[in-house]
Symmetry: C2
Subunit: 152 residues, 2 copies
């Protein structure tokens, strides 16, 4: 994993050994997250992202670079003289559970009852069920029943 930002300066992690803090340093701003969301939803070109997010172009340039520096996206060469396209790396694709849980939280808590919003469906059009952290035996876990080990 890359340890420097787009300009080559080394990153001072907010909290050196907390994975949540490190993840937040990478995608913890509004735009990076939405860029990844749109990439998962089919966005491939600079203008795709610009149109969907409404982000300023200079900021989009910056975020695409940073996401690339962090190994979440890459520019893939097109076969013939076609333009290059952006694509998620494995690490970027791996954010899928984060996007899904965030989406489900938003559905439950950021909309008025009855207010329309988009929904995530599987190949058969069935709504994706609520994602819940669970123990190995399937028992659902909450912040009450879990704790962080190894924080210094």
């Amino acid at each position: 994993m890359a340890r420097d930002d787009g300009a080559g300066r080394s990153l001072a992690w907010t909290d050196p050994n907390c994975p949540v803090a490190r993840a937040a340093d990478v995608i913890g701003d509004r735009w990076s997250l939405l860029i990844v969301r749109d990439a998962m939803d089919g966005a491939r070109t600079f203008t795709d992202f610009q149109r969907r997010t409404g982000i300023a172009r200079n900021i989009l340039t910056d975020r695409l670079r940073k996401l690339a520096a962090h190994g979440l996206i890459t520019q893939v060469e097109a076969p013939s003289g076609k333009r290059r396209r952006y694509a998620l790396t494995a690490a970027g694709e791996d954010l899928f559970p984060v996007i899904v849980t965030l989406r489900q939280w938003g559905e439950r808590h950021a909309f008025e009852p009855g207010e329309p919003h988009s929904v995530l469906v599987d190949e058969h059009g069935a709504v994706v069920p609520r994602v819940v952290p669970a123990a190995a035996d399937g028992r659902p876990l909450t912040s009450e029943t879990t704790s962080v080990r190894g924080r210094e």
Copy 2:
């Protein structure tokens, strides 16, 4: 759900009917997320949050207010003349799956192999298994096998 920020101005949602964008508008900055993380991990007072996150005090004031305005935390009155404490609301607690997936992503992609980091364990000390979105029949889902319905 509250529709105004701490100063009473109305919020212009980044993307009006995308739950991911709305969630990002609420917790999409580095600090809000870490404050919620620490609240889940036992932080209750202003100084708890300040010490754990290292955030500037004026920004902490601002974020606590905004999180309260969005209904994620509240100030609970203490019995006698004791100081009030911050506590997560149900909506705040409900961010648990988001924090967990973010943590698990960070563990996999924001650390060098072998680099130490904290881990999330259940009441018996067992590491929390990887959280994966799944269809109703238990089949794991990815961004390839899902799509967003209802985006205008």
